[in-house]
Symmetry: C2
Subunit: 544 residues, 2 copies
């Protein structure tokens, strides 16, 4: 047995050191004096969140496992207890006063009914009062921490993995990929630009960047990798790494370019309207983004090509072989036609939100459409049901993304995010004008490291930064433009920033450290394009 | 393509007929006039729930897919919209009046802060007011329908599947199974009684019947099946079907026997105390259950043996071979010792809730302990992480059980359950006394067909039936005993009644129709034991 143990250690000698490092970071923050203005609870959530993010970088254990450990710590220590109890009481319209009345002995079950009509509720309230350990029970409750596993964004990502499975199963991914390579694939660089072109064409019509990047483009990019003989384990640097990075980062550029390029972009417009009285509509959005956006689309494929140096540069020879393969594939099969048809319907449903609102009075939920697509694929026998339950990549993502979203929610509900925003606001007080706007935008950009969702980042910070802009007298239109575009571009920083990034990263072509490093380089490129060319363009437009 | 399609149809000619049958049931109920006292919303939820249950019986498609379709219908038609919006407003302490004030033009963002301190909340409230389509957006929201995927019971079941994977991976399951067969496995019937004995020993100490049946016993039962050469696909009737049914049904009997045999049993005690002033504590519980309980434990293994007629009756020859195999296994490996150690710690943590409450002021959540165990298994390298993400059975269960729990919640939140209980109450009004108690108990028993959780069933109905007991002048102690024991025994009816049943069913040894049929036979046995022997015993105790 002792031998077995030493074998285990030998396999990965630094595993325990790296695990210890994560634990030390967590413990150090946990016991660090709580900054003023912050509850102990919020600080503890942050400590666990930070340790989890560190574990993503050091990777002592699979990400999903690190997230689970974080959730166990938060729920086991009762860190998320108070807010859970408060929610519970608030849900029932109860406050301290009514509780104290109810806890008096004269309160009879009949009286309780007044506060809550159903018998079950009455039982629960009685428990609250009579059972002194209720609060402690809630403390131990995992409910709050498991909530992320029922999140709609998480399930959109899971559905995207399933759809991608259908692309592979049916051979449609391979067919489309072969067609793209046959037409545009003279060089690997050419394929990078092909992705940019496809993204640019789709972005105005598919407001979910996850549906666009993760559901539609990723399966094609992944199939091209297969055709080029670039395997995630065996030969990631042959071409796959480059194309995957192009897919992820170009998706963010096109998300930034259109008001309808990302689902949460309208939230920025609304905040701009509410706080700065700036009407930043579809036309304004594209007017400001067209020049720096096109520049980014031109720059990124080339720059990533220089950074990643794919081994396969001239895809010319491959291209000839591929034309032959395409011929060998023969006619479209039932599965390929059905897959294409279902994708087309999904595309139409995703792209026609405005029409739906006009016809039905409401838009169909992006995740709803995606799950419908998955169900249709299984019913039409394009994708067997056991390819859903057996899709490890999808379930791995459910574990780590779902858990992380629960933690991010806890950061929000414990008001850590509000506190952080206030810190930013007060620390920047001295500088004013354009420089202040730029500093605010930079902080906004890099604060994305602490977020697991572009939408969450926008919801948490966009309005706060607009308020700060007033305080530091930044030019309103400039501020709105910076926050609007950076809201999406900042997703380049991490591998957990938004759906498509998560999905592209999940393909396994790029090791996590390299993803962060290249992401950082891309962030510098974005800043040079949008802060130099962008500022010039916006000056020309008279926005500052 | 036409050929392909016809091939698909040929494969399973009745698939579409069976699918159509489910759809017809759903549509017929949907458009049926809503019974008085019920909202249209509640009725629609019931229609979808009923169609889903019918689909479990007809199986036109995998269960997970049928549940997903149900969720898509409920969220796509906006059936769960009103309650979602109401929840949203209530969460924020808003009512019609304050909303109407806020919607007036003079309400400024600063005013809104009064109602909700954070900026994000303010934005959301503004949206509620200004964006007329908010209600429609909520209608389309999937959130309510995906909530089940973050449910703690669902994740306890998922964790039990993972732990079972560890039992298999480490070889511990095989070792324990070999040991049990070597000692007790002279006959297949003997193994049935071995399961009964193990359940009886464990039940007082492990209050979660899912942890006991699904986490601990199922992996052993499944490993015995392997040793006996009974495969779920190839040879289910050799012995596996019998042992799986023993595992599931005996778990429910021991759950019924002890106040601490099932997590929700204390809820019955509490309701009895609150409504009927009956103090049904640990001692009273076992006093009433000991005679009929032991009779059931004696009867069920034998009766199931006669019903299922396992092909392997005399396990004697196998037993000799198995003793040899046990020898061949050699010494305990690192993985087996670690697995046993982790299981032991989990067992102690599950069994010592009272001590934990005394020491820590709170019990550890059963699911929390289970997930801790899973994490420990992966860290100790007993179970590779990719055996979690690749555990199809676990994820299949997440899909169908999570979805079903969301539907059951919707039945509850739309007050369908309350309405149903009132129907029962009013329809039984004529009969009184012992006979009324028995009728009530029978209705309580078979109403389990509509529930996906014993706990949900108890929460929904136990109190209602106690109230009804007063109305029909049923003997209080008798009523409490019947409801207490039937709360668990009634789980025999379906394959979706409670965690361990779900898990045993998930092994795939018993086709769904057969599960229902045998479950119905077992329900008749339970009724004859507990209503004949039980009533006599309780008369002797002076309970009626």
């Amino acid at each position: 047995m002792a031998e077995e143990t030493s074998t285990v250690v030998k396999e990965d000698p630094l595993k325990w050191v790296r695990l210890a490092a994560c634990v030390v970071v967590g413990l150090a923050l946990w016991y660090w004096p709580t900054p003023s203005g912050l509850s102990l609870e919020a600080w503890h959530v942050f400590a666990v969140f930070a340790a989890t993010i560190v574990s993503f970088l050091l990777r002592p254990l699979p990400m999903g496992l690190c997230v689970l450990i974080g959730l166990l710590v938060l729920s086991g220590t009762g860190t998320t207890a108070t807010s859970a109890l408060d929610d519970w009481l608030e849900d029932r319209g109860l406050n301290e006063e009514s509780l104290s009345y109810l806890s008096r002995s004269e309160a009879q079950p009949e009286t309780l009914v007044e506060y809550s009509p159903s018998y079950n509720e009455t039982i629960k309230i009685r428990e609250t009062i009579t059972d002194k350990t209720f609060k402690e029970k809630v403390q131990q409750s995992l409910s709050a921490m498991l909530r992320g596993f029922g999140d709609t964004t998480v399930w959109l990502v899971v559905a995207a993995f399933f759809i991608s499975g259908g692309m592979l199963e049916s051979g449609l991914g391979r067919r489309v990929a072969l067609m793209m390579v046959a037409k545009l694939g003279k060089t690997t660089l050419g394929l990078g630009y092909a992705i940019a072109a496809a993204e640019l064409l789709l972005a105005p019509f598919i407001p979910s960047n996850t549906a666009r990047g993760g559901g539609l483009m990723m399966p094609i990019v992944n199939a091209i990798n297969g055709v080029l003989g670039s395997d995630a384990r065996e030969s990631p640097r042959r071409a796959g790494e480059y194309l995957v990075l192009c897919g992820a980062h170009l998706n963010l550029v096109t998300a930034a370019m259109f008001l309808t390029g990302m689902a949460a972009n309208p939230l920025v417009s609304k905040a701009a309207d509410d706080i700065l009285n700036v009407n930043f509509d579809w036309g304004m959005w594209i007017k400001g983004s067209i020049v720096p956006g096109l520049a980014s689309l031109a720059l990124i494929p080339w720059a990533l090509y220089r950074i990643t140096k794919p081994e396969l540069t001239d895809a010319h020879e491959a291209q000839d072989a591929i034309r032959g393969e395409l011929k060998d594939m023969g006619d479209w099969t039932y599965e390929q036609v059905t897959m294409a048809g279902i994708l087309l319907v999904m595309l139409v449903l995703w792209a026609t939100g405005a029409v739906q609102e006009w016809l039905l009075g409401a838009k169909l939920h992006t995740t709803w459409v995606a799950i419908c697509g998955v169900v249709a694929l299984v019913i039409c026998k394009v994708l067997p049901y056991d390819k859903l339950t057996g899709n490890s990549a999808a379930w791995d993502t459910l574990l780590w993304l779902g858990g992380l979203i629960a933690m991010a929610d806890a950061l929000k509900s414990t008001h850590f995010v509000d506190w952080f925003a206030n810190q930013v606001k007060s620390s920047i007080g001295d500088t004013t004008g354009v420089l202040a706007a730029i500093i605010l935008a930079l902080v906004y950009f890099y604060s994305m490291y602490a977020f697991s969702m572009l939408t969450g980042h926008i919801l948490a910070f966009a309005g706060v930064f607009f308020s700060a802009a007033i305080a530091v007298e930044a030019p309103p239109l400039l501020m709105v433009a910076l926050i609007a575009y950076f809201s999406n571009l900042c997703g380049c920083t991490t591998n957990y920033s938004t759906g498509p990034v998560v999905i592209y990263y999940g393909l396994g072509y790029v090791p996590i450290k390299r993803w962060f490093w290249i992401g950082f380089l891309v962030s510098l490129m974005h800043l040079s394009v949008w802060l130099v060319l962008g500022l010039m363009w916006w000056k020309l437009l008279g926005w500052w």
